[in-house]
């Protein structure tokens, strides 16, 4: 079940124009997970150094600390909830955290994609799925 909170919804809201950048972000995270599957978590630590990628870099370090999935989710949620960000910037951080949790759970690439795609909005999510999986039936659109 997905919970709903008006204040959080407001905090996550951003324009369609801003959301246009999300599929690229998700594709980058899929690549990151692929690299992890090939070389392990230690091959990624220190590799993510983008301006807005603190949570990704620190999150990977927390995964290597062996924190359980529940603890990781709780700690990352605290970082997000208490952050000063809102709008698109906040949404991006949420996507990073969702990706971290999926990586920590050992999810497959397909599952990671399906967890991240909904953050792009229904239409962009389908386009993203279709781009990643060309065999996807057209009637799903």
């Amino acid at each position: 079940m997905i919970m709903w909170n008006a204040e959080l919804t407001k905090r996550l809201s951003c324009t369609e124009k801003e959301k246009a950048a999300l599929p690229t972000l998700v594709t980058g995270l899929l690549d990151l997970a692929d690299r992890l599957r090939a070389g392990g978590i230690k091959s990624l630590i220190g590799a993510e150094s983008g301006k807005d990628q603190d949570i990704l870099a620190y999150g990977l370090r927390m995964i290597s600390e062996g924190l359980s999935l529940e603890t990781l989710e709780e700690v990352l949620a605290i970082y997000l909830a208490t952050s000063t960000l809102s709008g698109y910037e906040f949404l991006v951080q949420c996507i990073y955290v969702e990706a971290l949790l999926s990586i920590a759970a050992g999810d497959s690439r397909d599952l990671l994609l399906r967890k991240l795609a909904p953050y792009c909005g229904a239409e962009k999510a389908f386009a993203l799925l279709k781009a990643q999986e060309p065999d996807l039936p057209a009637e799903l659109s």
Binding site: L36, K51, Y58, A77, L80, T84, A105
Partner: protein, 409 residues
């Protein structure tokens, strides 16, 4: 799903009004270390609204550290320790936390208990950051969480700015165990499988993530120390390694030998399932099944039977791309022999060529196998004019493999 956790936190935190010691305009706290101050790391993008001035942050960290240390002693020595800490504690909020832990309050009632005592921001407590830190810490302490988990969760309210500082403190206090545990060896193949170089670090990491901490600890509890160290080096930070050791100790004290053995089997099964080919590999397998099996056998046997010196010269004298395409038509055991006869730099080139290689038709493969066989013959042929007059000294089986390859059309 992170959205659910965020919903819950948004319900509990009063996000509109900033309370407590935090002031957004103040600079984030810097580490005490003078050298670290000079290096001036990039500012953290994800700032906490509770990020406070260094002095205030230091107070929060000191409170959390004291709490976690007392909880650690309580976990090791029993209730009397936490009662004694409660008696000595002057701060009302912290004292109250200890009393809730000592009375084993149900974890889900902790927030409500803080609220009833007027110690949550909803009940008017002026420092929301401190209150939230201790509600979280108390709840985790009651569930017997490891101090590392408690400290990480409590200090998350202060933001990523204190992450490294907290790590240093945790390493100092929980990074090393006093004395090394005795090994407990449960007979099984896990140790050997993990040491097998054919299993990639990525696969081991993935299996660890899929299995979860409990199963990983139980699986490793019956393995020799070097196996545990190998896993730590592949998937855990120093702090993570200490936490893994703690979980292993827990597993050894809690589980029987049979249960540890079952855990090993379950983990091996999980690792094995990651070896199953993905659809792309299956397509490759379909193609492989179309290769002439007798050609594969001839090439493989030729490589296995050749004198090491001769094979080394052949490998050194052929293009990496040709060797890479031949690899598509030989058995794995022959791959190993071929690579063992190539210097590492050349092996790397062959592997690169292999990555770029596309599946070849049977005719193309046969042609490459014949070039390989001719090179073998030229290496075996006497190099002096004197020797050229003599017939080649070849074993019957080598002669048969070479003839079989070279006579193909």
């Amino acid at each position: 799903m992170i959205i659910n956790s965020l919903c819950e936190l948004h319900r509990n935190l009063s996000l509109e009004v900033k309370k407590g010691g935090a002031e957004k305009s103040k600079p984030p706290p810097r580490p005490k270390n003078a050298q670290a101050q000079q290096e001036k790391p990039d500012p953290i993008h994800l700032q906490s609204r509770f990020a406070a001035a260094p002095k205030k942050t230091a107070i929060y960290l000191e409170l959390a550290a004291r709490f976690v240390t007392n909880v650690w002693h309580y976990q090791k020595e029993g209730k009397e320790r936490i009662l004694s800490a409660a008696r000595e504690e002057k701060r009302r909020l912290v004292k109250y936390s200890y009393s809730l832990i000592a009375s084993s309050t149900a974890p889900e009632l902790v927030r409500q208990a803080f609220c009833s005592a007027g110690l949550s921001s909803a009940a008017g407590y002026p420092d929301e950051c401190e209150s939230e830190m201790f509600i979280t810490g108390t709840r985790l302490a009651i569930t017997k969480a490891h101090p590392v988990v408690i400290m990480r969760s409590m200090t998350a309210y202060l933001g990523l700015q204190v992450f490294d500082q907290v790590e240093s403190w945790l390493l100092e206090h929980f990074g090393e165990q006093g004395e090394e545990d005795e090994e407990l060896i449960i007979p099984g193949d896990l140790s050997e499988i993990l040491s097998d170089k054919r299993i990639s670090p990525g696969q081991i990491n993935l299996a660890i993530h899929m299995a979860g901490n409990q199963l990983v600890a139980a699986s490793l509890a019956g393995c020799p120390r070097h196996t545990v160290d190998l896993v730590k080096s592949l998937a855990y930070s120093r702090l993570g390694g200490a936490l893994l050791d703690w979980n292993i100790r827990e597993a050894r004290s809690r589980l029987s030998s049979d249960e540890l053995s079952d855990a090993q089997s379950a983990f091996m099964e999980l690792l094995g399932s990651l070896d199953e080919p993905n659809p792309a590999e299956l397509r490759q397998e379909d193609w492989s099944s179309g290769v002439d099996e007798s050609l594969v056998a001839d090439i493989s046997d030729l490589i296995l039977e050749l004198d090491e010196r001769v094979l080394k010269s052949v490998v050194a004298g052929l293009e990496p791309a040709l060797l890479a395409s031949l690899i598509q038509a030989m058995e794995p055991i022959a791959h190993d022999r071929l690579f063992s006869c190539a210097p590492s730099s050349r092996s790397k080139k062959i592997l690169n060529a292999l990555e770029a290689a596309t599946p070849l038709s049977l005719n193309e493969l046969t042609r490459r196998a014949q070039i390989f066989a001719q090179k073998v013959l030229s290496e075996l042929a006497p190099k002096t004019r004197h020797g050229a007059a003599r017939s080649l000294q070849l074993s019957a089986s080598l002669r048969q493999h070479l003839t079989s390859i070279l006579s193909r059309e």
